[in-house]
């Protein structure tokens, strides 16, 4: 039964994929369509609320080793703290479907923020995968940067080392930090698109 459901699901997806607009709706350099999310505290955010500010979207799955790679040594929290301090909006998004590994409820998310010291602006439980699919988020962590004008400025990996080892963070180029720094300095972003690495988003 699950198998036939899976087959149908795959077939349905393939169909969607075959339609002309098969790609995620958002492409680097293009305007991000308006979207609305509700965070784990119950606050509603619209993309347009953040006009003029740079936004980071971080796809999260607390159990994914590649996420753990950046959370265990507090690398991700450090980035969150540094850039939210520079008036950047940082949304940590969990598109894990209910029942899948890494899925959290809003309460669990709040507890986790506390426990792990997550410093992002808001944690968004996107169990339906709506936001994830809008952006074509494939991995955790898959990172997106939206500039103040609402255009997608960066999409891809958090850094240049795709291993799951925390000790490799040092020495890797952090593309998100580089993109945010370039935006702040009004300079063009050198690397605007990379292959995201990590676990699959568990839609």
């Amino acid at each position: 039964m699950t198998k036939s459901f899976l087959t149908i699901a795959i077939a349905a997806f393939t169909l969607i994929a075959c339609l002309p607009q098969s790609h995620a709706e958002v492409a680097v350099g293009e305007a991000v369509p308006e979207f609305t999310v509700t965070d784990s505290k119950g606050v509603t955010h619209n993309l347009s609320d953040f006009k003029g500010k740079n936004i980071v979207l971080e796809w999260h799955n607390p159990e994914c080793p590649y996420v753990v790679k950046h959370y265990e040594p507090k690398n991700m929290q450090g980035l969150q703290e540094k850039y939210t301090g520079q008036d950047v909006i940082w949304l940590t998004i969990n598109s894990g479907a209910e029942g899948k590994q890494g899925h959290v409820t809003a309460e669990e998310a709040n507890a986790m923020k506390e426990e792990k010291g997550i410093k992002s602006t808001a944690y968004i439980v996107d169990a339906s995968g709506e936001v994830g699919k809008l952006f074509g988020a494939k991995t955790t962590p898959h990172m997106f940067v939206i500039d103040g004008e609402g255009n997608l400025a960066y999409a891809g990996a958090i850094d240049s080392d795709s291993s799951f080892k925390s000790e490799k963070i040092e020495g890797a180029t952090n593309y998100v930090a580089a993109a945010l720094d370039s935006l702040a300095a009004g300079e063009p972003i050198e690397v605007a698109s990379t292959k995201p690495y990590g676990c699959s988003v568990k839609y």
């Binding site: 699901a9 795959i10 077939a11 997806f13 393939t14 169909l15 994929a17 075959c18 002309p20 098969s22 790609h23 995620a24 492409a27 680097v28 159990e63 994914c64 080793p65 590649y66 899948k100 590994q101 890494g102 995968g129 699919k133 074509g136 494939k138 991995t139 999409a155 795709s162 291993s163 799951f164 080892k165 698109s193 292959k195 995201p196 690495y197 990590g198 676990c199 699959s200 988003v201 568990k202 839609y203």
Partner: protein, 718 residues
């Protein structure tokens, strides 16, 4: 069928396992790290692992140095779990290996077996289940002492079911010890690796599609192959999860899949693995190095429905053939025959004169082609949306050509002989054999040849226009060479001239006869003009004909008689001015689209919004791109499209018939042609109805030569 590969794998791995368990006992005495079955190598306190790793080699004994041996990293994977290929797809990670051996040991990069598609929800990964082996080529340093030594490695890999677990493994192998070689098993494992065929491959983007085209090398075949799956080693070239479609046409394999998120200009070259099932139902993999191209030659050949791949030399050959065929066109044949007959008058001793004439004629043709091609390329480079036949999209050019053909017709028919004072354009069709006369005959032949397109030229032109300017120019020049070739041969080989009938009074009759194909060509151009400039345009052009004929007649009859000479001359000049004025009025401005639509018209004019509207509403749609000056188009319409049977077929199937008229410039149509790899008309595309799942099949390109059966076959899918 695809399972074969993996059934084999499991068997191979069982065999391999048997080899490994046997030699265990040997190692204690050699003081080397024991090679034991990895399943038991995990210390009890370590978490459970989902992959076990073993290192094997094709040569293990009697190594003295400088040998090249192959190592195999065998990774057995727990049921339901998978590991990743070099390009893991949407998520995941490829294994990373570090070798533990002195620097003098040179290890190659990992070789990867043919991967498998591993769908996961809306994502697609590329990897392996059950078992996978990477090969590595190790070049040993010189002078290895005959003692056991160990090669060790560390491999970091990611193993996933639904969740992912990173694992680190160590493995090693002792060489020059008692470990037996695994050459036989590794030889069989080779079957699961893609073979590097070195086949020519190129990829390009068309609309939202990624297109890979692979030319199978001579002597090899993909006959009967199916179930093609594409695995680019570079990320982001394809939408990994999208379905691909494969098409084999002759020796060209084309795989189309939705375009990935990456800007292709970042990736000028990528290796790609193509997995397929061959004619004997055996799973295979082939690896090619594909170069990025704007549009590859084979795409064009494919889009044209030609069963051959077009290489440069083939395009050049086609161009020569096309040029040869042009000689037989009704507009060119008379010019050439008169020129050829003039050669017969030359005595054999006038060999040099004949040769000079041949060369001059060829030069005239080539220079004219170079001018036309140069103009075309310049327009294209300037970004104009034009294709082959662009010259004919201008009613002024059409009128000039029609007038030219008409005047030549009058000359052939005997109304007048060109005399010295008309020296210039084709002044000496028969009378003079001077080099300049021959040169201008070449120019004339080219001019009158332009309205005639030969079937062979379509492919060559299509190829030419997608190529760099140098190649385009070569193709055009070869076309010209083909046009000039018969005359050139006649000029150079006296024996050929002897085959021609002896000159005599019959030549005069023959010359007059040749006037009629000229008039026919002119009449056809008048009709083309009627499509471009309406009935007024036709009237003006016909008036030009009359005025010119009158001017020529007055010149001929009155020029000799002193008294009336001036009256005649004035009349002739007035007629000429009138002609020039009329012709110039056709120059732009007067475009009136043809209004030939009758009450029973079963088509609508093509436009992108109309097409999109119909496609969205789920109608099947047939698109016909045509032009009044395209004879093939008109013949196809008459024979295959505008027939009662086809009309009925369209009606019963609810097919919306859209016709795009490219008689005049139309950037929208040019863009549409370009989408299907064409630079000219005709183009027929059929968009089938949605199937029961609501999916629309890929649009079908119909051949350039249609019959009712072809149309019906493509539409009914039989």
């Amino acid at each position: 069928m695809k399972k074969h590969l993996f059934v084999f794998w499991i068997m191979a791995s069982l065999l391999a396992g048997a080899f490994f368990i046997a030699p265990d006992r040997a190692f204690a005495m050699e003081g080397a790290t024991t090679l034991i079955a990895p399943q038991v190598s995990q210390p009890a306190e370590e978490p459970e692992k989902y992959v076990s790793v073993q290192l094997i080699a094709d040569q293990t004994q009697g190594l003295t140095g400088e040998e090249t041996i192959t190592l195999g990293i065998v990774q057995r994977i727990a049921p339901g779990w998978h590991i990743y290929w070099k390009n893991p797809g949407d998520s995941g990670a490829a294994a990373e290996v570090e070798w533990n051996a002195p620097d003098t040991f040179i290890f190659s990069d990992l070789e990867w077996p043919v991967p498998k598609k591993l769908p996961f929800g809306p994502l697609m990964n590329f990897g392996y289940e059950n078992i996978a082996t990477n090969f590595v080529t190790l070049t040993l340093p010189e002078n290895i002492p005959p003692m056991p030594f160990q090669i060790g490695m560390n491999i970091d890999l990611l193993v996933c079911e639904e969740i992912c677990i990173p694992e680190s493994h160590q493995a090693s192998i002792v060489l020059n010890g008692t470990v037996p070689p695994s050459a036989e098993i590794m030889e069989e494992m080779r079957n699961s690796f893609p073979s590097d065929k070195g086949w020519d491959a190129a990829y390009s983007t068309r609309g939202s599609n990624f297109i890979l085209s692979v030319t199978v090398a001579e002597g090899e075949s993909l006959q009967g192959a199916k179930d093609f799956e594409l695995f680019p080693e570079e990320w982001g070239l394809i939408e990994n999860v999208a379905e691909s479609s494969a098409n084999i046409d002759g020796n060209v394999l084309t795989i189309t899949q939705a375009h990935g998120e990456r800007d292709f200009s970042e990736v000028p070259m990528s290796k790609m693995v193509i997995r397929y099932t061959d004619g004997q139902n055996i799973p295979r993999g082939v690896r090619v190095s594909a170069m990025l191209e704007g549009a590859s030659a084979s795409d064009i050949a494919k889009a044209d429905g030609a069963s051959v791949d077009i290489f440069l030399w083939q395009a050049l050959l086609f161009a020569v053939l096309g040029g040869l065929i042009l000689n037989l066109m009704p507009c060119v044949f008379p010019v050439l025959s008169m020129k050829a007959l003039s050669l017969c008058k030359l005595k054999d001793k006038e060999e040099a004169k004949a040769r000079l004439s041949g060369l001059a004629y060829t030069a005239g043709v080539l220079v004219s082609f170079a001018v036309i091609a140069g103009a075309l390329l310049a327009f294209k480079a300037a970004g104009a949306e034009i294709g082959w036949g662009f010259q004919l999209q201008n009613p002024f050019v059409i009128s000039l050509l029609a007038t030219l053909l008409f005047v030549i017709g009058l000359n052939l028919a005997g109304l007048f002989d060109f005399s010295g004072r008309f020296a210039g354009i084709g002044s000496s069709l028969v009378q003079k054999e001077g080099a300049s006369g021959s040169f201008f005959t070449g120019v004339l032949a080219t001019l009158v040849a332009t309205p005639c397109t030969a079937p062979f030229m379509g492919v060559a032109m299509g190829f030419a226009l997608t190529q760099p300017a140098l190649i385009s120019m070569s193709v055009f020049l070869m076309l010209g060479f083909g046009l000039a070739l018969p005359y050139l041969l006649l000029a150079y080989i006296p024996a050929l001239r002897h085959v021609l009938p002896k000159p005599g009074p019959w030549m005069e009759r023959f010359k007059e006869l040749l006037a009629f194909p000229m008039f026919a060509s002119a009449a056809w151009l008048v009709w083309v003009l009627s499509q471009q400039a309406g009935s007024i345009g036709v009237l003006i052009l016909l008036m030009v004909f009359v005025a010119l004929a009158f001017a020529i007649w007055t010149f001929k009859n009155l020029a000799a008689q002193g008294a009336l000479r001036w009256i005649g001359l004035s009349a002739a000049i007035i007629a000429l001015i009138f002609s020039a004025f009329c012709l110039s009025s056709l120059h732009g401005g007067m475009m009136v689209p043809g209004q030939s639509a009758g009450a029973d018209q079963n088509w609508e004019s093509f436009s992108e919004p109309v097409l999109e509207g119909y496609l969205e509403d789920g109608y099947p749609v047939f698109v016909n791109m045509t032009a009044a000056w395209c004879i093939t188009c008109k013949v196809n319409e008459r024979i295959a499209l505008d027939t009662n049977a086809t009309r009925k077929l369209f009606e019963t199937r609810g097919i919306k018939y859209l016709k795009g008229d490219w008689t005049n410039q139309d950037p929208e149509i040019t863009k549409y042609l370009d989408r299907y790899g064409r630079t000219g008309v005709p183009l027929y595309v059929y968009y089938g109805p949605r199937d029961e799942n609501g999916a629309r099949p890929e649009p079908k390109l119909l051949p350039q030569i249609l019959t009712p059966a072809i149309v019906e076959g493509e539409i009914t899918g039989s």
